[in-house]
């Protein structure tokens, strides 16, 4: 419980089966919702220094289970079961007083989104100090507190001056480190990490998870890692539980579950994960076999046509003093799918937005179909290009029904409103969705609507700006399959922006690698991602493989 305790048992992490090692044991954990049982009773125990991963899709009950253990269930939900810690035993449902003594001290929770889990109006140091102060038995002086804050920041590899920064001044990865520092400030016995890296870039994800792992082993702390990403779990958790519809369908040692899944659902999850499936073929894998080899066919098609659709030459872009694009040149051929990869801040979204006319380039020429376009939307027509944005929750107008949104787009293109049904069929949505508001749809369904809206005007170029990054792996796969199908059926050219190499590998014919506003490498997707020549690309590829060392 105390820091002394953790420091005295450094070996606990390395040898979790030491007979004296205390464990965190949860028995008969179940969650009841307003409409009945949401999570069926299940047991698990985690040895100090070990990680248990709880895997499932959205709606599987994994987050509710985590919240039940942290005593943070939303109104209308109650937990059953018991939690055995070395220092306490909690019978669920527990009173608020019990939770106040436990939560944040013996059990800490690390949330998914570093952008909202920190208070925007308090300095990071103050937020870490708050948890230290809350957990401390005696009142600490300001200097002592500052000293501890610096220590915690050093543990998560952040410089001391981060304490004086506000969250918005930090990158996503740094924010998540601050959140980790705050969560660990109290030396909890159990850390619950709810999708801790979903909102981060590929290279950040690995770092954060390895950092967590290191901290946890040093302290002999048990961790429960909630994730939808099987690839992320490999090599970072000793045991894994797979949850579906509130039931544990498979459990066991991580490597054996991933290599020899016994339940069909686990197999489906593994197959849906682009980083776990065949990484070298460069083709889209679908259950029906549709889409296999599409990349090659489209490339042949591209060379058959005359000229390129979009040619961006030496595009630069500055925001104030900050230059985000230093002369980027990108070409998209007819019927071709071009990927642009890079970390956040690399300028990949900016170049896409310049091409779309949503951003005014500072210099350079963007030509569409051989005609140079002036910067901005005014010189572009809807039929030339459309964008599908990253966040399906904000890319549809919440006050306007799906049908009205789509009809508006159809009207713009001069198509009759009766084409609405065909449009919904195209993105494989039921016709009654026309009457729904975006709030009634899931993330994947909204993204389908966003694609339908983009396709309503029959654009020549579809720009996908991180269009699948906010989705679960299985939904991601469905949307990627849909895109693969649409580009064959409609002969679309696609500019695909992503930080996720595995996703780009599935869809793109050619790929550009962007770093700090420069193209560091480009070429056929297969060549660039399998035999990268630039050290940065090599690092990116290594980071994505590190995430899921399947071979």
């Amino acid at each position: 419980m105390t820091q002394l305790n953790a420091a005295n048992t450094p070996a606990a992490g390395a040898h979790p089966d030491t007979p004296t090692a205390a464990q965190v044991t949860v028995t008969g954990l179940a969650v009841d919702g307003p409409a009945g049982v949401v999570v069926e009773p299940f047991d698990f125990s985690i040895a100090p220094g070990e990680t248990l991963a709880l895997i499932g899709e959205s709606g599987s009950g994994k987050t509710l289970s985590a919240k039940a253990i942290a005593g943070l269930l939303p109104a209308g939900f109650t937990a059953r079961g018991g939690i055995e810690l070395t220092s306490a035993r909690i019978e669920l449902p527990a009173t608020d007083a019990v939770w106040r003594a436990t939560r944040g001290r013996r059990i800490s929770l690390l949330l998914q989104d570093p952008f909202t889990s920190l208070s925007p109006v308090h300095r990071c140091g103050a937020q870490i100090a708050m948890t230290i102060q809350a957990a401390s038995a005696t009142r600490l002086s300001k200097a002592e507190c500052a000293e501890l804050v610096t220590q915690r920041l050093a543990e998560v590899n952040l410089p001391a001056d981060v304490a004086r920064a506000y969250p918005h001044e930090l990158s996503g990865g740094m924010r998540q480190r601050v959140a980790i520092a705050a969560a660990l400030a109290t030396d909890p016995e159990l850390l619950i990490a709810d999708e801790p890296t979903t909102a981060l870039d590929a290279s950040n994800q690995g770092e954060i998870l390895d950092l967590l792992r290191g901290l946890q082993e040093n302290r002999g702390m048990a961790a429960l890692l909630i994730s939808h990403d099987l690839g992320m779990v490999r090599g970072r958790a000793e045991h894994v539980l797979v949850m579906r519809h509130g039931e544990i369908v498979e459990r066991g040692v991580t490597s054996s579950v991933l290599n020899a899944p016994s339940h069909p659902y686990t197999r489906a999850l593994i197959e849906a994960d682009p980083s776990l499936t065949d990484r070298s073929a460069g083709v889209v894998r679908t259950a029906s076999g549709v889409g296999v080899g599409v990349a090659g066919a489209a490339r042949d098609n591209a060379t058959g046509e005359t000229g390129d659709l979009v040619v961006a030459t030496d595009v630069t872009k500055s925001f104030g003093d900050k230059t985000v694009l230093h002369g980027v040149s990108v070409t998209v051929g007819r019927g071709e799918t071009v990927g642009i990869v890079g970390e956040s801040g690399s300028g990949k979204t900016t170049i896409a937005r310049c091409i779309a006319g949503l951003e005014y380039e500072s210099s350079g020429v963007i030509a569409f179909d051989g005609v140079a376009l002036a910067p901005g939307r005014a010189s572009r027509t809807p039929k030339q290009m459309q964008i599908v944005f990253q966040d399906p929750y904000s890319s549809l107008n919440p006050m306007i029904s799906v049908g009205r949104s789509l009809k508006l787009a159809l009207r713009v293109a001069g198509r009759p409103a009766s084409d609405l049904n065909g449009l919904l069929q195209l993105v494989e949505l039921p016709l009654e969705f026309a009457r729904k508001r975006p709030a009634e749809l899931s993330g994947g369904q909204r993204q389908r609507v966003a694609i339908a809206r983009a396709l309503a005007v029959q654009p020549e170029l579809l720009i996908c700006d991180e269009s699948v990054s906010a989705l679960d792996v299985s939904v991601q796969k469905q949307i990627l399959d849909l895109l693969a199908k649409l580009r064959v059926d409609l002969g679309l050219s696609i500019l695909f922006i992503s930080h996720d190499l595995a996703v780009v590998r599935q869809l793109a014919d050619r790929v550009y690698v962007l770093r700090h506003g420069d193209v560091v490498e480009s070429g056929p997707c297969h060549d660039v991602l399998n035999a990268p020549t630039h050290p940065y690309t090599q690092a990116l590829v290594a980071a994505s493989i590190h995430e899921a060392p399947t071979h």
Partner: protein, 285 residues
Amino acid sequence: MSSTEAIVLAKAPRSRRRHPVAVWVSIALLGLVTFLAIFGNLIAPDATAQSILDSLLPPGSPGHLLGTDELGRDVLALTIAGASSALVGPVCVALGSMLLGILLGTVSGYLRGPIDFIIGRWTDLLFSLPLLLAAIVVAGVFGAGYWMTVLLLILLFSPSDIRIVRAGVMEQAARPFVEAAQMLSLSKARIMFTQVLPNVSSLIITNSMLNVAFALVAFSSLSFLGVGVAPGTADWGRQLTDGRSIMIDNPAAVLVPALLIIGVASAANLVGDWLGQNLTRTGRS
């Protein structure tokens, strides 16, 4: 996205929570005052009729439930007749300043640039004018009057509406659905008023209810100071001035209009708050 799902699930029981009693009482009070504002003339046709013989009757006198004032006017009838002046002015002020807020705030928040700068300095200027001082100066220059006060209050209330709408529009304008509308090459006016504005509507409605409350208090203050309605008009603020000197003889002449001002202002505030919470819950995803 499972946490989002949990939140959506959590909303279900919360929205089933019954509306607080205070909100129902407020709605009832506002309904009653609205009824009196419309039909007050029928219920109390000659509220301002004076009668020296009936001067200063205490509450509970026969024929005068709340007594009479110095001029022998029936306090109950005067209060009923005052409902229309208490409601019409504030509602006009709220609507007028809402209209200005929608027009200038949307344009300012969506177009930004020089227009935003000009509108911004204009609101700064209006913000800096003290309400009562401005009203006294305007009354001195143009003469006091009910509709003059309405116009002045619209002008003085508008900067807060402009700022609020502008902030709401700026928040929405950065969202991808607005960019999706730009990708369809819709005109700026069309994007502003058909795509962005509906998402700010809950904000506007809430703020307008609050404006009704503030405007009522402002009207009453101005009437109390003698720069609002003309003397002799049935008006709650006016009743306070007239009733001050006869507090001992007929306390109802002051207390009843005073309580009504407080009650109606609080009710408008509560209903505005409640509307705000409920509209945002259904409006946003």
